[in-house]
Subunit: 356 residues, 2 copies
């Protein structure tokens, strides 16, 4: 596909369409990544919820299905501090929800299963050599980062402020994802935890583009061709879209979640920490409203999620979205239930048509 | 000036440049409005802090200085309920700040001086017949609105969600200001008070443009030509810019405020209710951080402002921005200290150059 004036990201990653599919842990695997990459965009495999064995299998599936570049994504949060008093306060806060769903508020819990990037995952990066490796919540320690760089992978990461973008560029990132306030899922915020100061996409993208020399990938509230074209006008060289791809058959979200997304409007979401301990944008349902959206009681990321997991499962089993985790950005309204490859090509064609 | 593809707002208001100067009560008067209107944009006179006599004098000054269209802006909040317990709790919360500035925490207070649109102001609209009348916080009662309409004024108002935009269109607004989360000053929010759900400009503008038939004016985080051009791509027919005009010599803000704006970055502001009782975006200084940014104690709009006024005055007199009210959007970084007429023409020329 030709016609893109700014080809920096296309050439950096070796792709044809300047659309990155946002890695969405828990909502997709290799199938979505393959479909987007095959269509000329950059598909992504989110590894935050995968075991090393599962990541290995997913990479095997991707490499078997496409020869196109792929992005492999990791969280790189610091391991949390255990805090039994806070855990107990959290369980006490969740007691009414447990009781509403007929669950034992004292039931034993599993682990909060979001693992940061480590030497084991790094060895798998060295094995599979993904063309792009992306990080959320900053960057891993220098030795691991250098090992990733040595594989030849292009390294990108999310910035939620100009300060974070400059920090990432100084540490050698090849491109910066400018993640505006509108974005669904976890905010990449890592230099502070002050979400009240987070800039929206419209303000963030041009200020990041002015502050760094590397190309900028705009994310947050981009749902269709007008958004893609506008991101370019603001100074981006590509966009990253997540929510739009949740509507595709290749995403693994439940029918209930799919139904809630189809009804989501511009003001249906909020930044909440109740599901994981870190702020993330999702549909504001009963649990978000009752405990948050931002709860001072929620344990440190990812520990808050352990006591939430039984609620989420029971809620879905009961056919209710009340206690489910349903990440979404503010542009879900534009979602189209279309195969991911077709969606990627359609968005590209519509954007080029708009620019003409 | 020619070259604007979307001429809906230009023709509706009879202006030449699709840039509206945002009305900024307390920060500007007729001088800024005249400069912008003379340059082909739409200047605005904010009346929320003016007495009827003062509004009359300002309109006299505007009509003497320009024959171009002007926008006259009013707040139309419901009068607050007196709540002496809440007032007392608020004064108690402010006690440390009063003591830090050497003020008596029990000193008598003036009135919170933001007046809603009423029959007296309406009579002045009938006298001066401004070409555009804009409202913030919804619309006035039907009888007053009909009197405004009968003057021939085009009526516009702020929407912070698609729901508010549709509500305003149904009541006959001639255009809708889509005010994104990034915007400085008071949020126009009026159908709910849930600021956690407010969409950013990037998500809001196209969704409003799809939902209403009248033209859309994008506001929030628009600081320079890339923002103006991007707003058009998203579906807007014009933009409204506030913070950019605060840098002009025609704004009446203090040197301290001007200095703080010059240093403001993408993440320097927060939505706060501490200055008035309603959420508004301003630079996050000491008082915003200590009491807010969103305080559950702050009395209803505009009552919270009465006890804040002495702090603001004393802070400024002491040469400190710590307790000052400094409204700003998230794109202050793009501010240029340029006369408002020149700024308007420069922004227009730069936007047209970008589009070519």
């Amino acid at each position: 596909m030709t016609g893109w004036r700014d080809r920096r990201i296309l050439e950096l990653f070796g792709i044809e369409v300047p659309i990155l599919q946002a890695p969405m842990a828990g909502a997709q695997g290799s199938q979505l990544a393959v479909a987007v990459s095959e269509a000329g965009g950059l598909g992504a495999l989110p590894c935050a919820l995968l075991s090393p064995a599962r990541m290995d299998a997913e990479m095997d599936a991707i490499r078997a299905a496409t020869k196109k570049p792929v992005n492999v994504n990791f969280f790189c949060h610091a391991p949390p501090h255990a805090d039994t008093a806070r855990d107990a306060a959290w369980r006490a806060a969740l007691r009414p929800a447990y009781e509403a769903l007929g669950l034992d508020p004292q039931m034993p819990l599993g682990d909060a299963n979001r693992a940061p990037f480590d030497a084991t995952f790094c060895a798998l990066v060295e094995k599979w050599r993904p063309e792009v490796v992306s990080f959320h919540f900053g960057l891993p320690e220098t030795a691991l980062l250098e090992r990733v760089r040595a594989t030849g992978a292009k390294i990108i990461a999310s910035a939620t402020t100009v300060g974070e973008a400059v920090w990432l560029e100084q540490r050698g990132c090849d491109a910066i994802i400018a993640q505006g306030y509108e974005a669904g899922g976890h905010r990449g915020i890592f230099l502070t935890n002050d979400v009240a100061m987070q800039p929206g996409t419209f303000a963030l993208v041009p200020q990041v583009a002015d502050a760094v020399k590397v190309p900028v990938i705009a994310a947050g509230g981009i749902g269709e061709s007008r958004g893609i074209a506008a991101a370019f006008v603001l100074g981006a060289s590509a966009v990253q879209m997540g929510t739009a791809y949740l509507f595709c058959p290749e995403s693994s979200i439940s029918p209930l979640y799919r139904g809630a997304l189809a009804e989501a409007r511009d003001d249906s979401t909020a930044l909440t920490n109740v599901f994981s301990g870190r702020p993330a944008r999702g549909i504001a349902n009963k649990i978000v409203r009752e405990l948050g959206p931002l709860s001072p009681t929620a344990p440190e990321f990812p520990l808050a999620g352990a006591a939430i997991a039984p609620l989420r499962a029971a809620s879905e089993q009961a056919g209710s979205t009340d206690y489910m985790q349903m990440w979404s950005g503010q542009a879900a309204r534009f979602g189209r239930a279309m195969p991911a490859g077709k969606l990627t090509k359609t968005l590209a064609a519509e954007t080029l048509a708009l620019a003409r």
